[in-house]
């Protein structure tokens, strides 16, 4: 069983604000999907190599060479906040006592 506290912990790991009202349905969902997966417990999977490469037509690799891409400014332009040629972010060091620091 996944606990409410585990759901909160996971949300912190993936940097996701989750409200208290969102927690119980998420917990319920987790337990349903994991229980469903556990129902496969009796399947015989011994000896199966999940990384066994299947024969397949080849995917040619391209040469690893530098190419100029003319859209640098368009990419910067898409930033929520930009300063000159930089993406601008708020201060990186937060207040003392916050959980992730």
């Amino acid at each position: 069983m996944v606990s409410e506290e585990e759901v909160r912990h996971l949300a912190r790991l993936v940097r996701l604000d989750v409200t208290e009202e969102e927690i119980p349905p998420l917990q319920k969902h987790f337990n349903e999907i994991l229980e469903y997966f556990h129902s496969l417990g009796n399947m015989d999977l011994d000896g199966l190599d999940p990384y066994d490469p299947e024969e397949s037509p080849s995917c040619p690799l391209r040469n690893d060479e530098v190419r100029l891409w003319g859209q640098r400014d368009a990419a910067l332009e898409a930033a929520p906040e930009r300063e000159g040629d930089y993406f601008k972010v708020p201060r990186i060091v937060g207040e003392v006592g916050k959980e992730d620091e």
Binding site: V2, E6, V7, L10, A11, L13, V14, R15, L16, D17, V18, E22, L26, H29, F30, E32, I33, L34, Y36, F37, S39, L40, M43, L45, L48, D49, P50, Y51, D52, E54, S56, P57, S58, C59, P60, L61, R62, Q71, A74, A75, E77, A78, A79, P80, E81, F87, V89, P90, R91, I92, V93, G94, E95, K98, D100, E101
Partner: protein, 488 residues
């Protein structure tokens, strides 16, 4: 030229000078304006852009400078494919104003072929959903009954073709997101073999499963679209280098003599809508009539374990792919006093309910201590499902099964019951897990007038065989009609 015309016919009439691209686009815009209020199939409607492009195309045609297999054909593309300078929201608030600086490979190919983009279609946020209700831009409605869902996640593309906005559209399919809405909206939709079509510029959901494919109302148009988009692209390292066969030739009428069609009888149980089971058997009979022989095949693990396996693997990949939405380089950003708060608030308000569910599930199954029990085990189940398909294809050349177990459900009916919603993909997602090509075809209507779909599945790279068999099925049951306008 009207909303019933095929892409092939439209391009050919424009090429011959029977009609202008501008006239075709004006008619398209008229149909969209008439129906879009009810359907909400498009997130972005490119009205002025399409008119302008059509005018320019007519000028180039008159000067002998333009031709292509989709000359002047109006198309709709799912809103998770990048369009240069045109909003690409992925159905999410987090990308609500994002305009990519480049076109996806498939969009480039459509433009080169002469197609005119008239809209970006509605979808479940980040392609996570089976009803297009998980769109930040409101649900799309089924053209056959606007109280019901379109299916998803490519619901807007399916509805656009079904309602006669456009003859062809593109969707993406990670667990059934082309085929299930094709069945729900009564059109044809094809997921090619993993690696046939470049994913360059497709917003990633689950990278080992995602594949782009076409919607159409007949098999010839599917073949036409596939031939345009399926070339090798060096920018997608999983896109195979081999030459593609002549898909249009494969879609021509031919006998099915020598083709062994495998019917999965265990999929026609009480859990499947009886009217759907019936059309699967009717389709088998029609294929036999066209010269095929029928054999029984079994896919026990695919049917039983495919769904839980998929809902471990796809969220795991999604949790990693969606880590990039952090409010720094593009997309939405919430005001915050430090970087950590910015991440939490941006992602918390930018992602919807279903996306949060999947990110968290994926993170859980990948976390240390649970990796072997869930992720690794699911990978093994995936391998088992691949092997099961391989042995089924020793007996049969092609497999016939339902696309979805149910008819299109009512809006709101399953939106708070994710597991029940996931059941909608029970027959489509094993095909993604095995990387196989699948085609969903509308072959009839239920007593209530709702579309009924069946699915053809072939070994990897056998799109030609699917198109050949699909053509025989179309000859027996007719092309997909425009919703509410005769046919079948």
């Amino acid at each position: 030229m009207n909303e019933f015309s095929s892409a092939a016919e439209t391009a050919s009439r424009i090429r011959n000078g029977d009609i202008t691209a501008s006239a075709v686009i004006e008619e398209t815009l008229r149909v969209i304006e008439e129906k879009e209020k009810d359907l909400n199939a498009l997130i972005t409607f490119l009205r002025e852009e399409a008119l302008q492009e059509a005018k320019e195309l007519d000028r180039r045609i008159a000067a002998g400078e333009a031709d292509g297999p989709l000359l002047g054909v109006p198309v709709v593309v799912k809103d998770n494919m990048c369009t240069k300078g045109i909003k690409t929201t992925c159905g999410s608030r987090i990308l609500e104003r994002w305009k990519p600086p480049y076109d996806a490979w498939v969009v480039e190919k459509l433009r080169e072929a002469g197609a005119i983009l008239v809209g970006k279609s509605n979808m479940d946020e980040f392609a996570m959903g089976s009803s297009t209700e998980h769109s930040a831009y409101g649900p799309a409605s089924n053209p056959w009954d606007i109280e019901r869902v379109t299916g998803g996640s490519s619901g807007g593309s399916a509805a656009s073709v079904s309602a006669g906005y456009v003859p062809v559209a593109l969707g993406s399919d990670t667990g059934g997101s082309i085929r299930q809405p094709a069945a729900f909206c009564g059109v044809f939709g094809m997921k090619p073999t993993y690696g046939l079509v470049s994913r360059f510029g497709l917003v990633a959901f689950a990278s080992s499963l995602d594949q782009i494919g076409p919607f159409a109302r007949n098999v010839e148009d599917l073949a036409l679209m596939l031939s345009v988009i399926s070339e090798h692209d060096p920018r997608d390292a999983t896109c195979v280098g081999a030459d593609r066969p002549d898909y249009l030739a494969a879609a021509e009428r031919s006998s099915l003599a020598g083709v062994k069609v495998g019917v999965v009888r265990e999929f026609l149980t009480a859990a499947v809508e009886p009217e759907i089971s019936k059309v699967v058997l009717d389709t088998a009979a029609a294929m036999k009539e066209a010269g095929a022989s029928l054999v029984d095949v079994k896919l026990p693990s695919a049917g039983k374990a495919g769904l839980p396996c998929y809902y471990i693997l796809a969220p795991a990949e999604a949790s990693s792919n969606l880590a990039r939405y952090d409010g720094i380089r593009y997309g939405k950003r919430e005001e915050a006093c430090d970087l950590m708060e910015l991440y939490f608030k941006t992602r918390g308000s930018g992602f919807g309910k279903e996306v949060k569910r999947r990110i968290l599930t994926g993170t859980y199954v990948l976390s240390s201590g649970y990796y072997d029990a869930y992720y690794l085990r699911a990978l093994k189940v995936r391998r088992l499902i691949c092997m099961e398909f391989e042995s089924a294809f020793e007996k049969a050349d092609l497999i016939l099964m339902p696309t979805a177990p149910s008819l299109p459900f009512r809006k709101g009916e399953l939106v708070d019951d994710p597991l029940q919603m996931y059941m909608s993909d029970v027959f489509t997602l094993p095909v993604n897990l095995a990387g196989l090509p699948g085609l969903s075809m509308c072959v009839g209507r239920s007593g209530k007038g709702l579309p009924l779909g069946v699915q053809l599945v072939a070994p990897q790279w056998q799109e030609s065989l699917i198109l050949k068999c699909g053509r025989a099925v179309e000859d027996a049951f007719g092309p997909a009609p425009v919703a509410g306008r005769g046919g079948m």
